[in-house]
Amino acid sequence: MSSNDNSFDSFNARYLDFNQIAKTFIPNDQYWELQKNNHSLIMGPRGSGKTTLLKMLTPPGIYYLRQINPEFDVPPFYSVYIPTDIHWKKQLDHFYTQNFVDENDREIISRFLVTTNILICLCNTFRYLIEFQFKGNHPEDNRLALEANLSKLLIEDWDIDAPISPNLLSIERTLKNRISKCNKLILKLKYGHVVKTGQNYIPDYYYNDYYSLLSSSCSSFERIFCDSEEQKWALCFDELEISPEWLQFELIDKLRSVDQKFLFKLTTSPIVSMVNRIEEHKIEAREDEDYRVIRTWNYNDSCTTKWNEFSEKLTAAKIKRAFPTINSPIEIFSKSSYSANLKLTFEVDGIDEFKTKYEKGAIYWKLFKELAIIDPSFKKFLTFKNINYLDPSPKNVAEKDAIFRKILPVAVYRYQFLNIHGRRSRKNSSLYYGVPLIYEICDGNPRFLMNLLDQFLTELKLSNKGTIDISRQSTIFKSISKKYLELIKAHPDSNIELFPNRLINLGDIISRIGTYFNDRLINEEFTMDPVGAFIIDPKVPLSIINLIELGVHLGAIIYLEPDQAISAKGLRGKILRLSYLLNPNFELPKREYKGVSLSKILYRGNTRQIDSQLIFEL
């Protein structure tokens, strides 16, 4: 018989997504934290793996993880995965700006769309559970009969039109049809083709409340499939920040809930800003008391260390699949020490004869000496520190640690990119290569890392050498970095109207910040403590803060030392930096440096006016 037969039901076809994710999934601390029996707020930029974490909590996710490792722990709850569709969000946003229905009706329609979406997800979860969790418990015929019984209860509870075949697929289809009809209704309302007498034009089922339906439906499932034994359910809402505002408030409020049946697992951007939307005292759910915050991006050194360990495993596994004979990423990429770059610059071959690279005549010594000759401000710095610029070797370990190690990255970048008499020196710009830099530059974002590795492995396949040299690695990094900046510039929400018909673009703001850091690092007076972060100071207008928040959401801007998950002040007063993935665009090293006010970067001189070069007219 045909292999397509019932492929609608086949594991391979339907659950390919879960199966593929499970194959490459490496459970980390964040995942184990998420498996705990409490409410969680998972925060991180796009691509930082939040969705993957949630998907691996669902019944098919767990099933495939246990296929790989039968000992894999099962969470103490059933997960209902509820994604938010960005197109759907835009549709609702547009709907909210229209005045063809009054505010109450708008909210009813919005609530209906959300409720229906949640019910579709619940239907999916029930199907997953029947197929994955309860498969062995009941014979096929009986399982169908049980599904029919459950479906009959749902048809009644959810006001589904009958006659209908009592199965979960039919119910799901009906729910999807309801959404199509709602879209038609919105269009009819827009063109005035609906007579609004009272609220008769809104069907009764629009008034259903998602939370009470979830509660009754899960109880129905427990009655039929679990011998009425009560179960715990985790409602996993993905991308809270693009859900309607009323839902964001309700869900955050529900983090205080002590309901025995439901846990909430919410994913969102690195910060939930409630600026101008809610008084701070009204946000009653408290981090650590009511819910745990799981942050998925690198906001400090400890995160970077964990990220590097995770990246190493991920990279090694990916390489092993493509090149079984290669044992470790370092074989392909080598180590990311500055010495490889400097050896090419100074044309030094072979093994160093020196004990340390700082020793007289060694490679860093050469760098400091050469830089002092071409860079008067560096010479001045060394002299100020009592270091002979013609023999810049450390006098002792303490001096090496306190000065030489610290100035090394700045010295390398200044040497390679300094403007001398109006000309760029650019001796060897290959500075983005090696392990662990290729991990660190991805800044805690598995999506970046996977894309990067795909490009590297394609390169490796074509080159047939078994390694990728540092200049090629750097070129690939630069090209990805450039594309990333272009993508940010072209993002549909990247332009904001600052004044009537005068716009500002997030990509341009990022470029200004990056260029400013580059200027301070390379062209201005040498300092061992340059700027590399920015603070959202009070002068920065809300419209620009909104753009910066988009940057944080897209992973282009990193929120450092996050002290608050939910904030009534939003990003104001917070310290941030550019994602390291953008650094090659601006010839910046991967280092955390001190912060400077954002207004200082964006404003012209001491005025309160944004530099006109950043603004473009429609």
Partner: protein
């Protein structure tokens, strides 16, 4: 081999393979010869190899109804044929059989070898691997490929394509029809349990909203009649990129659509397709499994495709009676709902419903308070009585 009750035919049609540089401003294909580092998610050939491996697909022969290349791009022809060879290998198929498509013909005579010159000098196994049959094909514009219990009639519907003007039309004349009949009479048709016909152009009308139907094979209906008289079981053709199953009297005619061209695919909002037909011995009955290519997902089966992912041909009974019998059976089981696989085991005729039959069958079932979920022509999972309040 002689004991087999069915045969599997994999079909890859209208590849329109070419070098990316020979593409015009708008990409007209998904299959480029220089996509050497392509990903399975974007390259239909690589994705098909993956599908075959993952789903352990097998077929007895691989058929290509023409247009391997696009606008006679030589590199497209060479790579396209190589891809087909590799697909055949992976499917573990005994033979790869093809016919000439209008895009394979060098109508501008770039190579100064005549319109079919390049093709005649191309690979030894193109369009069939047996040399005398191949020679016969080029001399007579058709051939009869027979191997054990299998007979394949292959027609070159582009034999009149000498220049740009003549390449717009296709035809078959009485001399060809007489010659085909004469050759068929030489064979003992009873020796063949599987009789298949293959051509590039459509022998009967195949209109769609965006293209006038000017290039069907003139006198094609006479060819169909002749093949029907000689008990051929199915005619397979390409050229038109919207796949379709039709009947001419009792003869099923299957248009395979396009494997990787985007022309008349994107504009008609339809999908690129790959098919495997399971043809029953000595009957005009078969099951067609189809996969659609979705960039980023590869070859998949999904709901609401232009051509159903699981359909068939050859049911000639009464759908109302079939629906009533199914309802009676379900009632006798005392169950509200059963797995769809179960009902097909009891009523195997359901396998051979054409896409049109499938839609009518939905209605007939509903008249008996029965619904299949998802509805035909999607692939149903459930078969059961509807719930009424």
């Amino acid at each position: 081999m002689s004991d087999r009750s069915s045969i599997k035919l994999a079909i890859v049609s209208d590849l329109h393979c070419k070098h990316s540089r020979s593409d015009e401003t708008i990409a007209s294909t998904l299959l480029y010869t220089d996509d050497i580092a392509g990903a399975t998610s974007t390259n239909p050939y690589l994705a098909l190899k993956e599908l075959i491996k993952t789903n352990e697909l097998r077929s007895d022969i691989l058929i290509c109804p023409g247009d391997i290349t696009d606008k006679s791009d030589k590199q497209g022809l060479a790579s396209g044929w190589q891809y087909l060879e590799k697909i055949r290998e992976r499917l573990d198929a005994d033979d790869l059989l093809a016919t000439v498509g209008n895009h394979d013909v060098d109508i501008t005579n770039v190579e100064k070898l005549g319109p079919l010159g390049v093709l005649k000098r191309f690979e030894d196994n193109y369009p069939v691997k047996i040399n005398p049959i191949k020679v016969f094909y080029w001399d007579n514009d058709f051939c009869l490929y027979n191997e054990g219990d299998l007979l394949v009639f292959i027609f070159n519907s582009c034999y009149t394509h000498l220049n740009h003007q003549s390449s717009k039309l296709s035809s078959i004349d009485q001399i060809h029809l007489d010659s085909i009949a004469k050759e068929l009479k030489k064979l003992n048709m009873k020796n063949f349990k599987f009789k298949i016909a293959l051509c590039h152009h459509h022998p009967i009308n195949h209109s769609n909203i965006s293209n006038p139907d000017i290039d069907l094979i003139d006198k094609g209906e006479l060819l169909v009649k002749l093949l029907e008289d000689f008990d051929f079981q199915v005619i397979i053709h390409g050229h038109k990129h919207d796949p379709r199953l039709s009947y001419r009297n009792s003869m099923p005619i299957f248009c395979a659509g396009s494997f990787s061209s985007t022309q008349n695919v994107n504009d008609l909002r339809i999908e690129n397709t790959f098919h495997i037909i399971e043809l029953l011995a000595n009957e005009r009955k078969g099951i067609i499994e189809s996969w659609v290519f979705i960039p980023q997902k590869g070859w998949i089966t999904k709901m609401d495709t232009h051509f159903p992912c699981l359909t068939g041909f050859g049911f000639r009974g009464n759908l109302e009676t079939l629906a009533k019998e199914c309802a009676a059976w379900l009632k006798s089981k005392g169950q509200d709902i059963v797995d769809f696989k179960g009902i097909k085991e009891v009523f195997p005729d359901i396998n051979f419903l054409s896409p049109e039959d499938q839609i009518t069958f939905n209605k007939k079932l509903l008249e008996n308070d029965i619904e299949v979920t998802p509805n035909f022509p999607n692939i149903p999972k459930y078969f059961g009585f509807v719930f009424k309040r």
